[in-house]
């Protein structure tokens, strides 16, 4: 009863929040989300180019194009968001000391991610993936985990940095 009364007052006065946030979710960092998003950007550009090669576009093709462009931009943004969270939340003094170029690499990823939103250039999307792979390699190095490079077993069949976990 006291709580419901306080809640009603809160709706009027809007009490300030006092955060009691937990840290566990924030300690789950993994660049694979950014890598998959970068691969997706390449894939969407490939699919857009497949439409480009058609002589005539049907209404369904136009709808598909709109969808592909939208998804390409969403995934390019996702690359940026995933990287920023790792860089901002996980990287601290020891990581920056070990990798002094980390911020420059992140900045390049953000710029290239924006280019991938603006354009439909496959080359730019591959550059984005390569930069994200560089970031992944650096990330796993901060954890002392070796990596290997393999072709992802699905389209767009590009090289991806994976952690050697076993």
């Amino acid at each position: 009863m006291l709580h419901s009364l306080t809640t009603k007052i809160d709706r009027i006065l809007n009490f300030e929040q006092a955060s009691a946030h937990c840290d566990i979710p924030c300690k789950i960092y993994d660049p694979s989300g950014a890598q998959v998003a970068a691969l997706s950007v390449i894939r969407f550009i490939d699919l857009i180019n497949e439409l480009h090669n058609k002589d005539n576009l049907s209404l369904a093709d136009h709808a598909q194009l709109a969808r592909l462009v939208r998804e390409k931009e969403i995934h390019a943004k996702k690359v940026k968001d995933e990287i920023v969270v790792i860089w901002g939340d996980y990287f601290k003094q020891p990581q920056f000391e070990a990798f002094p170029d980390a911020s420059e690499l992140v900045h390049n990823i953000l710029l290239t991610g924006s280019l991938c939103k603006q354009h439909i250039s496959r080359d730019k999307a591959v550059v984005l993936l390569n930069l994200v792979n560089d970031f992944a390699e650096m990330f796993w190095a901060t954890k002392g985990i070796d990596i290997y490079i393999a072709t992802c077993p699905y389209p767009p069949s590009e090289s991806v940095v994976y952690p050697k976990l076993a």
């Binding site: 006092a18 955060s19 009691a20 946030h21 937990c22 840290d23």
Partner: protein, 96 residues
């Protein structure tokens, strides 16, 4: 002068003492001093307004804070908190 403020708790790092959507009434008063073990609301320079338990106090009055839940952000991540950032000591909880 005695000052009180009400805050709505967001998050679970103070579980089981506080849970999400609880309300805490915190206060400061003449001669106020945080004591080890009490709950305080602080306006942290990086983490903004947080509610935590006082784990330790150094000779200059700076606070070492921690959450009651194992999942809480660590004391190391919170860092030593200057006395000037204390909003108040929790004097009453309204449970959700």
């Amino acid at each position: 002068m005695f000052k009180v403020k009400i805050h709505r708790v967001v998050g679970h790092s103070m579980y089981p003492t506080l849970i999400n959507n609880d309300y805490v009434i915190c206060g400061v008063w003449p001669g106020f001093a945080a004591i080890i073990g009490c709950l305080v609301v602080v306006s942290h320079p990086q983490l903004h307004t947080i509610v935590k338990r006082v784990e330790n106090i150094d000779c200059s009055g700076r606070l070492r804070l921690s959450g009651d839940s194992d999942s809480s952000i660590s004391s190391d991540d919170i860092g030593w908190v200057e006395k000037k950032y204390i909003v108040g000591r929790v004097i009453f909880c309204i449970s959700a």
